[in-house]
């Protein structure tokens, strides 16, 4: 039986993998992160149903492990793809994790003993992790990885190195009950033959520091929406307690600012599609956590296009009393004494400039596609992967046998990403089956 490569193990990649594996096709998932899950793994709840994100995602992630024909190649990147539909040759760079994953059982002892603390990317730097860490508690595969840059052993500080006689630290190695630590692990190149490729590398948040007038990174109480998502999450840095970075107090007024970097020809001219609903969701979550908080969303247009979206919006307004004001925020000023934030905009209903004060501001940031890949696919001028035919073949790229799904094909939410994933899985299965030739293993 021939096989399919999935690049990117976000919710879209996972769905495609499960659909293919269920049909008996071999699947490789290559992800540059140490765990699958993608952006959805960062989310607390999902719109428009307010279902718990990990309650939906975790079973799907765990299901990957039940299929012997799914291979997870984590912490890796595709280096080269050649050949054509039915017979692609793929080169994959497997970066060292410094842990033998066939031995590691994810017990987490090392992550408690390690003496080096670094900002935790999974919590957007709002908490700390150790230099050896498991990406997040529900990680799949649940395996430890050493961050070589911060590890005392692998990258010792020059001064300590001079003084020490032998190698430094080694705490994780000493404490690992399964003896899985491998400080000398080297990068590996894997070569695979696959019939089809599904690209599902998703998106990254646009850096709001490109809009210095909003003060992100300068003002402590200005957050990105992904940071806020971690802040409200029970698995987040404050166990779901919404507090200000500046003084640890609960905010009384929170503002969401829409279209930060989206729909703006100076940055990205497209609509990022998820943010109207995500802000609405987050405002509701804030209300659920802090019933007294006042939530206001500043928007240019509310795009509640999907199924149940408009009802969700109405609910936010009526049931939760979320305030919506139409006007693009052009500037945020911090009030130095209180670290509160003054946001400046034109209230387009009243037609003049206003400046409102909040104690927390959340930026609904644009997304950008993870499309810089060594694949022969074409890109649109915005950097998304070009579709062969956006009407009748919306999961095919311009190269036969290479499909694209999820946010790397265009800004979209989870339901649309998953729909595409199943569609692409069906297409890839057609190719995989057409080119399948009985291998000795199958005959036997």
């Amino acid at each position: 039986m021939s096989s399919v490569l999935i690049v990117g193990g976000g919710v879209a990649g996972i769905q495609a993998a499960l659909d293919l594996a269920e049909q008996g096709i071999d699947v490789y998932i290559v992800d540059k992160a140490p765990s699958v899950g993608g952006k959805m793994a960062y989310l607390d709840k999902t719109f428009p149903t307010l279902d718990c994100a990990s309650c939906i995602l975790a079973p799907k992630m765990a299901a990957l492990l039940r299929y012997p024909n799914i291979k997870l190649i984590m912490n890796s990147e595709v280096q080269d793809v050649s050949g054509r539909a039915g017979n692609f040759k793929v080169k994959i760079l497997k970066k060292p994790t410094y842990v033998d994953w066939s031995k590691c059982n994810g017990c987490g002892v090392c992550t408690e003993k390690c003496p080096t603390k670094v900002p935790n990317e999974y919590n957007m730097g709002l908490s700390q992790r150790r230099a050896i860490y498991i990406m997040f508690p529900q990680a799949v595969p649940k395996r430890a990885i050493i961050d070589a840059e911060h590890c005392m052993r692998l990258n010792p500080p020059p001064k300590a190195k001079e003084k020490a006689k032998g190698p430094l630290c080694g705490v994780c190695e000493r404490n690992c009950p399964t003896k899985a630590i491998r400080y000398d692990q080297q990068p590996e190149i894997l070569e695979l033959n696959v019939s089809a490729v599904i690209v599902a590398t998703g998106m990254e948040l646009y850096d709001p520091r490109n809009l210095p007038e909003l003060g992100y990174g300068k003002y402590q109480n200005v957050y990105t929406n992904l940071e806020f998502e971690r802040l409200v999450s029970a698995t987040g840095p404050t166990n779901g307690e919404i507090v200000r970075k500046s003084d640890g107090k609960h905010p009384k007024k929170i503002a969401w600012i829409q279209c930060v970097g989206s729909r703006d020809i100076r940055f990205n001219h497209y609509c990022s599609a998820y943010c109207c609903m995500a802000a609405t969701k987050q405002a509701i979550l804030a209300k659920e956590h802090l019933p007294e908080v006042q939530c206001t969303v500043y928007y240019m247009d509310i795009r509640a296009f999907g199924k149940g979206f408009n009802e969700f919006l109405e609910r936010a307004k009526k049931e939760f009393g979320i305030n919506y004001i139409r006007g693009k925020v052009v500037r945020i000023d911090e009030i130095p004494e209180t670290k509160n934030l003054k946001i400046v905009y034109e209230d387009t209903a009243e037609s003049y400039m206003k400046a409102d004060e909040y104690d927390m501001v959340v930026l609904s940031v644009a997304i950008t596609p993870n499309s810089k890949l060594p694949l022969p696919v074409e890109l649109t001028k915005d950097g998304f992967i070009q579709l062969k035919d956006p009407y009748l073949d919306p999961v095919s790229t311009t190269v036969e046998g290479i499909f694209v799904v999820g946010a790397v094909a265009g800004a979209k939410d989870i339901p649309d990403s998953v729909t595409e994933a199943s569609a692409a899985a069906a297409r890839a299965a057609l190719i995989a089956k057409r080119f399948s030739c009985p291998t000795p293993e199958v005959v036997k």
Partner: protein, 372 residues
Amino acid sequence: MVGGTEFISINPNVNREVFKLGGKSLLECYQCGSCTAVCPLSEELDVSFRRAIRYTQLGVEEKILGDISPWSCNLHGDCTDSCPRGASPSEILAAIRRYQSIKYDWTGITKWWNGSSFASKLVGYLVIFGLSLLLYFGFFWQSILAYASTGKLVVLSELLIPVAVVFVISLAILASNGYRAYKFMIKDKKKEVGLVKSLKHIASFFIKVESDAMKVGHKRERILEHTLILIGLGLFILLGILYVLVPKFFEFKVISRLLIYVASITLVIGVGSPLMKRITAGEKTHWYYKKFTHPTDWMSLITLLPPAIMLLLVFVFYDLSMLSHAYIAFALFLSFMIPFILLEFAFGKHTHWLYKVIAYYVGARTGYFRGD
């Protein structure tokens, strides 16, 4: 309106016309209000530039004509720098101003002057200039020669009559247009602020806005150019008044020459500098000098330059005792003044001083200023 109906009439041609008058990015606007929010004037005024643009897109003519916000705009372009659509709100506002001026003017000449091509304007200008030349170098030529032979310059003579007539007619037209503008602007508004308080508001507004703008390089550059033109024109007018009322003044050589030289030189620099920047605009030139290249902008500068130079020459020649040359320069000066007054002063971009004054007056009286 609750419980009632408000009828508004729409003129679907407005957006096409404003587009033609230089508002090329009018239809780009998606009403986010960034322009209003970034504008330094918004701190002082209850103003929405976005709304003016919206009215224009929709063609709500009545509202556009009564809108004073375009006249408060100083074209400093913070909005253009931060427009998420890459539109140029300040350029659109300038175009709306041209549209408003057309509608305020009952003679229809502004419609031609603002709306026609550069070539057509130039031809019109040259025709009037040509007729003036005929007047001075034909009809008045003998008397000019006679005056030249007296060895004196300062004369209240029939030479001034054509310019005076043109000037009085222009003033009358301006006054009537100003009144029309006032009527449009005051409609549906209530005078609620006292006159003295209004004047105070205007004064403190100008001090605040201009001093803030002076802190920004490219704004300072333009404020200086504009101030030079203002000083030059002011001195011009002062000299004109003195010339008519106290011709003796020009016998005090030092002071009168000083005034004349300052007037001409400030005008030549104030007009020449933006003109040169427009002509030589390159990579580093601020976009203001590249975007704002509507023919009326060019004409407002071009028509002002020759009389300024001629006035200077008159006295240079005179002080060099080249009296016949001085008189020729004087005749040329007057010939240039006629089309300047008749076209630019009465109908062109220069009318903005009048509409600005009216707009600020109406605004101040009707609560447009945020106040203390």
